[in-house]
Subunit: 318 residues, 2 copies
């Protein structure tokens, strides 16, 4: 069986090359050359087996998702990804598992020219922790505190798909591969985030659920929000999986793990937003507006006010 | 019981303030301003309960050690620490545990003016993953590949203490608090590393054991090494815990978790090294020299050649 150093060699052999990596995997630390005048953008997220992904998730999908959830944080800041580090805890040093994990991790790393520059492999319960590094020009980052009264609220993609996949998995019945793909291989909206920087006001990625994450934006910005839940785009797969409107609305408004972007922008920027989304080949939909107050008000087209049963997903339940 | 967001608030409330942190904990990612012209130095290490520390380790000691092992990597590069991120997996959201953990983590962070700028808290088996960021001027980093034939080999502190503590813990008998302190609260040799940058050639921190880590330096540099094991300084506590010379030598030469620095420097730099160590208030000892070849030869003063039973510690055993 392979030892720790063999695993590190396997990982190093597949790393993306970048000119700004002075010294990558193999020393006590990595040496990196940040571009002059740019701010460094850093996010770190861990995925634990059974908590953040079902135990039957394919290793390649775990690799993809571990990087995707972190790139999604850079996307929500409007940053250009550059480097990452990886800490991998495995119950045993399984080279075949690591190779499969790297198939997914590297596919996404190459798509975004992200170099893996360091980290460690350790024995322990299956867990993947990634730190990502990107750049943004000063003053152009999309921050949660930047929403303004009168802003339109937008969302990318079709939120709710990942939650529908998780519900199917929990129920143990029919499982739609399209929905499962949205849970296991979320698409970080990096291209969209880059085009929104300097154009949109606030942004956040949807990991805890649209309403919960929008509430974070409102809290940080000192504003409220009105959302038309029925304005949220519905994927065909979600429509088929959740024909009951209230179930579907719950998935869309409160389901986590979508890693779509929710962002706010001045009403005058509507055409520019649509152009930016087209340039990023990403669907965006206007779903509400920022108002005075401190509440997130979720309404439907045919009811006075629809309220989700839960304010969102928490890793730690009270 | 506190939820995830309460834990994050507790962590944020105790963070060190730095002027180069544009945006810290609380957004999708941190925004940081690296100093112009410097290289960024990044290391990431995870500690898992039962693997990297005994289950009975105090939370404050876990907090200290999680940061210490990472700062030790920066020290081994000769870098100035600046920022860190923290991913904390806990079986349950225990606010008292987190407060105690932060007591140790913050004590070390403040000592080195390191700002915690992001990360996450998740549910899962107890595990702590830290990424640290520092700076070094181009060309001044201490790299493993820089050892040259004829260099002196030096070590800081008194290696073997941590391994002796672990042996006592495993045996379940008398436990020396001095040794246990060296296991639980290692001192990252940051001040020494900073003074060695531009003076020493190669450096590494001793996490896997002196001989194993020195072998990494030799492998990266394409050289061999001769070590006089009996030249290694012995702490009073280690002397009392391991009166048998061979047991003591095994702790010193092959015991991990000391986080002392092993470094090489030209013979002409001996006085400068001693001055640098005095300036950093850190004991250093010359223990051998770099030679041609590819082997690490460990000798004693009174025997032809003493060989350790094991080449060092691995998290993953073959």
């Amino acid at each position: 069986m392979a030892g720790e150093f063999d695993l590190i060699d396997r990982i190093r052999a597949r790393t993306v090359a970048r000119g700004d990596v002075v010294l990558g995997i193999g020393d006590d630390a990595a040496l990196l050359q940040p571009p002059a005048g740019m701010q460094l953008v850093v996010a770190m997220d861990a995925l634990n087996a059974g908590i953040h992904f079902p135990h039957d998730t394919a290793p390649a999908d775990i690799g993809w998702k571990a990087l995707a959830v972190n790139l999604s944080d850079l996307a929500a800041m409007g940053a250009t990804p550059a480097w990452c580090t990886l800490s991998l805890s495995l119950p045993e040093p399984d080279a075949a598992w690591v190779d499969a994990f790297l198939d997914g991790f590297d596919a996404l790393a190459r798509a975004h020219a992200v170099a893996l520059v360091g980290g460690d492999t350790t024995r322990g319960p299956l867990s993947v922790c990634v730190t990502v590094f990107g750049f943004v020009a000063p003053g152009r980052a999309l921050c949660r505190a930047a929403a303004r009264v009168g802003d339109d609220i937008w969302v990318s993609g079709t939120p709710g798909d990942a939650a529908a996949a998780l519900a199917q998995w929990r129920a143990g019945g029919t499982r739609d591969p399209v929905l499962r793909g949205r849970l296991d291989r979320p698409t970080p909206r990096v291209a969209l985030g880059l085009r929104l920087a300097g154009l949109a006001h606030a942004a956040i990625d949807i990991s805890d659920g649209l309403l919960a994450d929008l509430a974070h934006v409102c809290g940080a910005s000192g504003v409220g929000a009105e959302i038309d839940v029925d304005a949220l785009p519905v994927s065909d797969a979600l429509h088929a999986a959740a024909p009951d409107p209230d179930t579907r609305r719950a998935r869309q408004a409160s389901g986590g793990d979508d890693y779509e972007l929710c962002f706010t922008a001045p009403a005058a920027a509507q055409h520019a937003i649509v152009d930016a989304a087209a340039g990023a080949s990403t669907r965006v939909t206007r779903i509400g507006r920022i108002v005075e107050g401190d509440a997130v008000d979720a309404r439907t087209g045919d009811a006075a006010a629809w309220r989700p049963a839960s304010g969102g997903y928490r890793h730690f339940q009270d």
